[in-house]
């Protein structure tokens, strides 16, 4: 039973010593320790959340890049396609215009030829008429001596000269 009876002296010493210990530790140990731990936990949390944010930002940027790439590629394809279309159309246009131009030239050439032909014919006719006048003059000069022969000659000449 003696074990269960607290000794007065130890009660006094224990209460004073324990209170003193608690005061000293609270002031010089627990307060700074807990504050430091809390602060460090806070900074770790902050760092982690920052890392998470950076990761999200990174992912966002990557996806944005992807998007950009994709749209750039699409645009490039579009441009290429347009260019191709343009090229084709230009070629076609060139072809058709060349054709029409050629046709026009040919037409022009034909008209020219026709004109030349007509001019040549007119010239020829003129020449023929002057020639025939010449001939007629000569014949007349020759034949006019003999009226009958003159007349025959004219008739024969006229028979020979056929207008073609």
């Amino acid at each position: 039973m003696e074990l269960l009876l607290p000794e007065f002296g130890l009660v006094i010493f224990q209460s004073i010593a324990f209170l003193l210990l608690m005061f000293l530790l609270a002031k010089f140990a627990w307060k700074p320790i807990l504050a430091a731990i809390k602060e460090r936990e806070k900074s770790i949390d902050e760092a982690l959340s920052k890392a998470e944010l950076a990761k999200q930002e990174m992912a966002r940027l990557t996806s944005q890049n992807e998007e950009l790439m994709k749209s750039a590629r699409a645009e490039r394809d579009l441009i290429l396609k347009e260019a191709k279309m343009l090229k084709d159309s230009i070629i076609n246009e060139a072809k058709t215009s060349a054709q029409t131009e050629g046709a026009k030239l040919i037409e022009k050439a034909k008209i020219e030829i026709e004109n030349s032909k007509k001019a040549a014919l007119a010239e020829l006719k003129h020449q023929v008429s002057s020639l025939s006048l010449d001939i007629a003059e000569r014949v007349l000069r020759n034949q006019l001596q003999d009226k009958a022969t003159q007349q025959d000659l004219v008739a024969n000449l006229l028979k020979d000269v056929e207008l073609n």
């Binding site: 039973m1 003696e2 074990l3 269960l4 009876l5 607290p6 000794e7 007065f8 002296g9 130890l10 009660v11 006094i12 010493f13 224990q14 209460s15 010593a17 324990f18 003193l20 210990l21 608690m22 000293l24 530790l25 609270a26 010089f28 140990a29 627990w30 307060k31 700074p32 320790i33 807990l34 430091a36 731990i37 602060e39 460090r40 900074s43």
Partner: protein, 384 residues
């Protein structure tokens, strides 16, 4: 009382069960030991020849009790100062004065046979307690009056001596201050960096107290009670371990002393009562039961306010004392069987129990702290 969240984790439950089992198992020898002491002392007076027989109970109880001198080794003792507050004022002298020289050998008296006279008052020491000496010695040469159970009935002065337990108390406080001021210094020098040295040893335990003891039981108001919980946890744990060291500066049974556990429990009691809010007191004086149940409920609840800290006090005291008795008894098997060949067995058992005691040292600190937190938590709980 809802204690279910104490046993939240399987591991904790296992630990608690194991400790309770151990406490049961080890308190029994203590009870027997006390019976033994009484019987053997009685026997020794009747037939002096029986004194030669080794008394394991008396030995163990002597070792776990407080003492005015510190046995170092063999015949070497450190005599501690005796400080008494008597009717004639404060008296102090060395406990070495309670010795006599017999045949050139120093005989240390603990049976009230040596009287020390100071300031006209006479003191004797019996079973490490100091009494005012009787005028004449009894038939055994003891200057005390004994009752039928052989306890002294003399008056006692107020004993404020620096006993073995008080010295241990001071030593443990110095150790705690040195350790934790160093830890605190570590936080200053390694500001914002990872802990180093002793700081990294203590930080997980400080965090354990905060995250597994304080926060689950006290909620968001935990910070106010952290200094108390941390101090009480480390005080109990360090002293439990110090008590397991068999040589200087350990060996005293400080946390197995009822005075020490009483003050610790009283601290928890005071914190509970002074921090109790209106819900807590309403729960005690006006519980949510029909009015005619108040006759039963109010006394039970009032009784509960006191039984909780008393249970804290007894639990720590009984566990640590029982552990000490168990280790001592196992070592004493050598003397009981009076054979050196029993030594390997007794040492093997003592080492095994010592290992368990190391665990118990932590668990008891943990249980005391978590129950303190729980009781305070119940008193400061906001809603009901």
């Amino acid at each position: 009382m809802d204690c279910s969240h104490v046993f939240e984790f399987k591991v904790k439950r296992l630990i608690v069960v194991f400790t309770l089992f151990l406490a049961f198992f080890s308190v029994t020898p203590a009870a027997f030991a006390q019976v033994d002491t009484a019987q053997v002392t009685e026997g020794s007076h009747a037939q002096p020849a029986a004194e030669k027989k080794f008394d394991i109970g008396k030995f163990a109880l002597h070792h776990i009790a407080d003492s005015h001198s510190w046995h170092v080794i063999g015949h070497t003792y450190i005599d501690l100062p005796v400080i008494l507050y008597t009717k004639a004022g404060v008296v102090n002298f060395s406990s070495a004065d309670f010795t006599t020289l017999e045949d050139g050998k120093v005989v240390r008296d603990d049976e009230a046979k040596v009287v020390v006279e100071r300031k006209g008052q006479r003191f004797v020491k019996m079973h490490e307690k100091i009494y005012y000496a009787s005028d004449v010695a009894n038939e055994h040469g003891q200057f005390v009056n004994l009752d039928e159970k052989h306890h002294a009935t003399n008056a006692r002065p107020l004993d404020l001596s620096i006993t073995k337990n008080v010295v241990t108390l001071f030593i443990s406080i110095i150790i705690l201050l040195v350790v934790f001021l160093n830890v605190a210094k570590g936080y200053r020098t390694n500001k914002g960096k990872s802990p180093k040295g002793i700081q990294s040893w203590m930080e997980p335990i400080i965090l354990f107290v905060r995250d597994d003891i304080a926060i689950p039981n006290l909620g968001h108001k935990y910070e106010r009670f952290m200094p108390y919980l941390l101090t009480v946890f480390f005080f109990i744990w360090f002293n439990n371990m110090l008590g397991l060291v068999p040589f200087l500066p350990g060996g005293a049974n400080l946390t197995g002393n009822i005075a020490v556990t009483m003050i610790l429990a009283l601290a928890t009691f005071c914190l509970t009562v002074f921090n109790g809010n209106k819900y807590y007191w309403k729960h005690i004086f006006m519980p949510d039961v029909p009015w005619w149940m108040y006759i039963v409920m109010v006394p039970v609840e009032l009784f509960g306010i006191f039984t909780k800290p008393i249970a804290l006090m007894i639990r720590l005291f009984a566990n640590i004392t029982a552990g000490h008795i168990l280790v001592l008894s196992l070592i004493c098997l050598v003397f009981v069987f009076n054979s050196l060949y029993i030594a390997p067995i007794s040492i093997a058992f003592a080492v095994f129990i010592g290992g368990i005691e190391l665990l118990v040292a932590f668990i008891q600190a943990f249980i005391f702290t978590i129950l303190s937190a729980l009781f305070i938590g119940m008193a400061i709980e906001d809603h009901h």
